[in-house]
């Protein structure tokens, strides 16, 4: 009973345990020969869900009902615009990054403006915005796949000391996010808003300002992920963000962040993202189909929330 209590206090344990079990089951197929390659691949691809997931986590931390469904289309638009601006020119890398960030800021502003002005629930507001952003992405480049500048393409696909560069970027962002959450006044604010909006208001916290910045932050991280993904995979595709909609929510939930808000968990996002990648690898390795994979993912999400998140009435 006491051990259960201790584990439930560290909710990220669940995702890390699950990731480790799946990782172990996968490498056992080859008797451990694939350990390094698999870990490297896992880090590479988990990096993107980590970046997107952190943004989504900040929004979910704001409390019940807060969610950003515009993440995939923001990724697509940012990637498309940036690559179009850079036009394979190494000199334009920074302007490309800037335009991606501006895209994120813009989407974030529109998201919160709708939530606030129309007083519609975030789920509907961000959904409507995502349609418009998706159209904008289609309109800007008609689906042409422009190559990233060679430097960026090399950088995003390369490793440093055996660690994928994108994973290092994800780590830097995670540390930054962790710092924001744990060490700064802003981190205290979003946690307070997520626990109780009236209490936060009475404690003198600028509630709207905090939420506004958080929606922007989430969209900016989505744009950054879009920018990196477009460079990594050799060009922006119109559908490149689509799998990150459910992914971003799933990694937050699996990572042990409280869905009721107020409590976020950066390490958990890593465990959950690695798990989400590894579970596909494992089931592919064992030759199991998409159906089983989906069912397992769903059951794991439900079990995690039942074990870690539930409160008896």
């Amino acid at each position: 009973m006491r051990m259960l209590g201790r584990i439930s206090r560290k909710p990220w344990m669940w995702s890390w345990t699950a990731a480790f079990v799946v990782w172990f089951a996968t490498i056992m197929v080859t008797g451990g020969a694939s350990t390094f390659d698999l870990s490297q691949a896992a880090l590479t691809f988990a990096a993107f869900s980590i970046i997107v997931g952190i943004g989504q986590m900040f929004v979910i931390t704001l409390g019940p009902g807060n969610i950003d469904l515009s993440v995939p289309s923001t990724m697509t638009l940012a990637g498309t615009l940036a690559l179009k601006l850079m036009e394979v020119d190494n000199a334009m890398i920074v302007p490309g990054l800037v335009i991606a960030m501006i895209t994120g800021v813009g989407v974030g502003v529109v998201n919160y403006a709708l939530i606030k002005a129309l007083r519609i629930p975030p789920i509907i507001a961000t959904l409507s915005v995502s349609f418009i952003v998706q159209s904008a992405a289609i309109w800007t480049n008609r689906g042409l796949r422009i190559k990233p500048p060679s430097f960026l393409a090399d950088f995003t696909t390369a490793n440093t000391l055996g660690v994928p560069n994108v994973a290092i970027i994800a780590l830097v962002i995670s540390v930054f996010a962790w710092f924001l959450l744990e060490k700064t006044i802003y981190g205290r604010w979003i946690s307070a808003v997520g626990q109780s909006m009236p209490a936060a208001k009475m404690a003198g916290i600028p509630v709207d300002g905090t939420r506004f910045v958080t929606y922007i932050f989430c969209a900016v991280l989505a744009s950054l992920a879009g920018y990196l993904l477009a460079c990594f995979s050799g060009g922006a595709a119109l559908n490149m963000g689509s799998e990150y909609l459910l992914m971003s929510i799933a990694v937050v939930v699996l990572g042990g962040t409280a869905v009721a808000g107020g409590d976020s968990n950066v390490p958990g996002i890593w465990g959950a993202s690695l798990f989400m990648f590894l579970v596909v690898s494992m089931l592919n390795t064992y030759g199991l189909g998409a159906g089983i994979r989906l069912i397992m993912t769903g059951l794991i999400i439900i079990s995690v929330i039942m074990l870690a998140g539930g409160r008896a009435r």
């Binding site: 490498i27 190559k147 595709a237 596909v280």
Partner: protein, 338 residues
């Protein structure tokens, strides 16, 4: 209904006897394109080709209108609604790239009942009243293994990259590949992943399964995923197997670079997005009163080692290798099917 069919048939017979120029006029006819998805470069190329070819045709007065419609999301239900709207809008023919081979049958039947010619291509429908311009997807899959068997007579392990789970085309190509493996038993499919016809998804999936696979001799694909596979394999620092390519520009370009660097050899099979224009002309010919068989076959686009550069030169940067069709091509295909 039957009377009308008989009438139509007799008209067609009568017309067939006459020279082409004397056929019924289609300048007053309106044709619509029903498209279920616009989210990748292939579909965008398809729409661009349609716009280009039909734009000229409209200008030349061959048809009155040729409008393209795309659904907001890739869903059969939405496309069914779109087709129903087209019926209301009074189009004479609907050219259709279907989200599902069967789920649109209800809507297609309604269109046929309203006297509308329905020509499906790429994603074809099974409703008997519609025309089908089909690519032999099974053959597309089988021919990949056949090609590999010539390059690698001793056989080896294959990695299969599939498309989107639960979609008809994916199932067909995969079935063809498995047929090919049965035919050339020296090959064995060592692993299979879903790449959703997207480079990034394929890259991710391949990178995930690769560590647990033995040496791979060849990668059989469905198009749109070859470059992603190549990137994943290069990142894992594995010997590069023969990856059967699709028709995206980045795939072809990568192939060309490898060819120049180390004489890498492979081939590419795909469907040209310009098949939409063939479907347009077929629809026009049907409206014109031509007798056309319900099932037409269009060859898939194959690029080989020697015509790679030529194809690449014709492909827009970031685009898709493509072939656009003219009226004569359509007539040829129709004649060939007779």
């Amino acid at each position: 209904m039957t009377i009308r069919k008989m009438l139509l048939a007799s008209v067609a017979v009568a017309c067939a006897a006459m020279p082409v120029s004397a056929l019924a006029d289609t300048s007053g006819k309106k044709i619509a394109l029903s498209n279920n998805y616009a989210g990748n470069s292939w579909r965008q190329a398809m729409l661009t080709s349609w716009e280009k070819v039909t734009g000229e045709a409209v200008k030349a007065g061959v048809v009155a209108a040729a409008d393209a419609f795309t659904t907001a999301e890739n869903q059969a239900t939405e496309q069914a609604a779109q087709i129903q709207n087209m019926i209301l809008q009074g189009y004479d023919a609907i050219v259709l790239n279907a989200a599902s081979p069967t789920a649109l049958n209800g809507a297609v039947k309604e269109a046929c009942d309203a006297g509308i010619t329905v020509v499906s291509f790429d994603g074809i429908v099974t409703e008997p009243c519609a025309w089908r311009i089909a690519v032999d997807f099974k053959e597309m899959g089988r021919s990949q293994v056949e090609y590999l068997s010539k390059k690698l007579p001793q056989g080896g392990n294959l990695l299969e990259i599939r498309g989107l789970a639960g979609v008809f085309v994916d199932d067909e190509i995969s079935a063809g590949i498995h047929e090919g493996v049965k035919q050339f038993p020296q090959f064995k499919i060592a692993g299979s992943v879903h790449g959703d016809w997207a480079q990034d998804v394929a890259q991710k999936a391949v990178a995930g399964i690769l560590p647990s696979l033995p040496e791979i001799a060849g990668v059989v694909t469905q198009g749109g995923d070859g470059y992603g596979a190549a990137q994943a394999i290069a990142a894992a620092k594995r010997p590069m197997p023969i990856i059967v390519m699709g028709n995206r520009e980045d795939e072809l370009k990568w192939w060309q670079q490898q060819k120049e660097a180390n004489g890498y050899e492979t081939m590419s099979v795909s469907i040209a997005p310009g098949v939409s224009t063939l479907a347009f002309w077929v629809a026009q010919q049907i409206l014109d009163g031509k007798e056309v068989k319900k099932d037409l076959v269009v060859p898939f686009l194959r690029i080989d080692q020697d015509n790679l550069e030529q194809n690449l030169a014709n492909t827009q940067a970031g685009g898709v290798a493509n072939v656009e069709y003219a009226q004569e091509d359509a007539i040829k295909v129709i004649e060939a099917a007779k």
